[in-house]
């Protein structure tokens, strides 16, 4: 990997904006490689939500240059027997716990090499029981950003955990999906991809209904929606979402992650 060592380390965590966790972790990376650039992706996944972290990783890592180190610390099992791992795919390096945060790296196309991190000489000492983001993943990411190879941190490994992904269901003339996330605009993002939607619905009349509202066509952009009216479109991650132009769909429609969303063929 010729471009390794350019030194970009991205962070996805559930540490939140408060307190010392993010800052301590960045320090432990920079202490190993003061010249790397540490990039905040988000520190506000839902606490312990490995599926959400895996989605955010999927929707960010391909935009980074080859050789980037992506660190994901959503780690409710810290200190237990869950393995710390390094994955390598398409010239990207991934570091974090083996608990499902890499679901979409593992399930996507392309070959993934995997390693368990076992060589304790790279960890901070003493290794805490509660904060491997700082004591283990951060220094390992620092060394990787200096150009060390993944296989220098432990033996090859496999059988990595993948989070259960709720898939949309076809029930007669209905496509039943689920709201996965809401973003800061209140857009409600479902698990219905462009491809799945296309198979069943494309070219036919459809309807999405809720309490007091009805959507009967897709839009292409947010600004095409009538201000204040619910609309549906495919967002930038390629998933069907509910939105309100210049409004907040989550607040107005009273829907939230976990709720079902049904597209009915007419």
């Amino acid at each position: 990997m010729k471009r390794r060592g350019q030194g970009i380390v991205t962070l996805i965590t559930d540490f939140g904006p408060l307190g010392e966790y993010v800052g301590a972790m960045k320090g432990a990376i920079l202490k190993v490689n003061p010249r790397c650039q540490v990039v905040d992706v988000t520190h506000q996944t839902e606490p312990q939500d490995v599926l959400q972290a895996s989605f955010i990783l999927k929707n960010t890592y391909p935009y980074y240059p080859a050789g980037t180190i992506h660190v994901v610390v959503v780690d409710p099992g810290v200190g237990s027997s869950r393995r710390p791992i390094i994955l390598e795919k398409e010239e990207h390096i991934f570091v974090g716990p083996d608990n499902g945060v890499f679901t979409f790296v593992l399930s996507g196309k392309g070959k993934t090499e995997g390693y368990e991190i076992t060589r304790r000489e790279f960890f901070l000492a003493p290794l805490s029981d509660t904060f491997h983001g700082r004591d283990l993943f951060a220094p390992v990411a620092g060394y990787l950003s200096l150009g060390m190879e993944p296989d220098q941190f432990g033996p090859p490994a496999g059988d990595f955990l993948q989070a259960q992904l709720p898939r949309p269901q076809v029930r007669g003339k209905k496509l039943v999906g689920r709201i996965l996330f809401s973003d800061s605009f209140g857009n409600l993002i479902t698990n219905i991809s462009r491809k799945e939607y296309g198979w069943l619905v494309e070219g036919r009349s459809m309807q999405i209904k809720g309490k007091g509202w009805r959507i009967d066509r897709l839009h292409r952009t947010y600004s095409q929606g009538k201000p204040g009216q619910p609309m549906a479109l495919f967002g930038s991650a390629g998933l069907l979402e509910l939105s309100i132009n210049r409004g907040n769909a989550k607040r107005t429609l009273g829907l939230k992650p976990g709720d079902l969303l049904t597209v009915s063929l007419l």
Copy 2:
């Protein structure tokens, strides 16, 4: 511009702290120029509030070194016909939609050169309809940070949109302003500048009143105010603001952005 290419790219967006938008956009900048430094100014303007974004830009960009690329993505019209533009002023470069976010760059003193971004070979392909921050503005900012000139992205352009700025009004012996923003301390920042205040009020007795409180002089620093008592002073952006030393004026006074504030001469 001799200092171009030092590679600082600042970001002002309304993407919020959740999800993948900020991280994907940073990746698309760094993929073009892995050596630039991406600097978060804020990702929490009010959603779609172009006037607030333009204020934050006004109050930050002059503090950055010449050659800095300032990217503003508060972009409710993404995918519509609003133009993507590059502005150049005082050795600073600005990138974003032509929707008012550059109001104060355009209305301030000094000459501004402007260009429409039309050369699609610099965009990510396919260009999404909903996320030009990632697919268009980010790579263009990356190339600008490498030292490319604004005129390499499209033709000269002008007649850029400026947001309507509410001005304070003189009504008899009253100066009637408006609260524009509140900050994280609960300070309430108005549209009354030092100059406008000076013309009418300086050297005379004045009064600002609300429900159960009255201010009859200005302070110079927050710490001069009696703890718990409303006070007025000119903040760091040169605008009159209401504050409470060791308190939260927004919460205590029950005022919010959009509300009027009257300074009465006695």
Copy 3:
């Protein structure tokens, strides 16, 4: 200090995620040294909470490389007579107001050199009365990151202010501590250190009780706790904390910073 000038500047402030304060301050650092890396530790200490800022600093700075400049701007007395200072300890440099934010730098082991910042030629002009983060601490941090020595900014100084730290009390067979902070997971972090706990409790039976819950042993990791049940453990800063595995102790237990927590010997 041979490693000075590698150019990492960390920021701890109470500016919050809104508005221009963080962005303007970063600009004023980068204008002096465009090549330094500015690292966000947190901008969300409780407003004006110098004790919390000093804790976050204590729990982050040792993880950074020698030569790092740590800037802390929690500064309710800005514009008053409180001194702006630079401290130097263990090859780390600290910049901020003399108001208690450096309590744990000063109270910890090791020698600390101190200086008052008096040389106005390094400040932005005009110096505002309300925002020394931008106008004073930022440019001074920028110059320090270029390799300037602390004594170039003013004379040696001492007698720095230290915040009052609430200590746990032994009352008969009880150890009475206090909840200092809660983190983004809802963990409730107390002022009881491993050492203090060890002196009184280690090896004996103990109990921590609240409304409808009781803890009678310590755990080592979060994941050892029964989901939904209150647990106690020593967190990554070496302090006793209450937690709920896969839950939120703050919300569930109805406790908050400032509340007492009693460990009873049986």
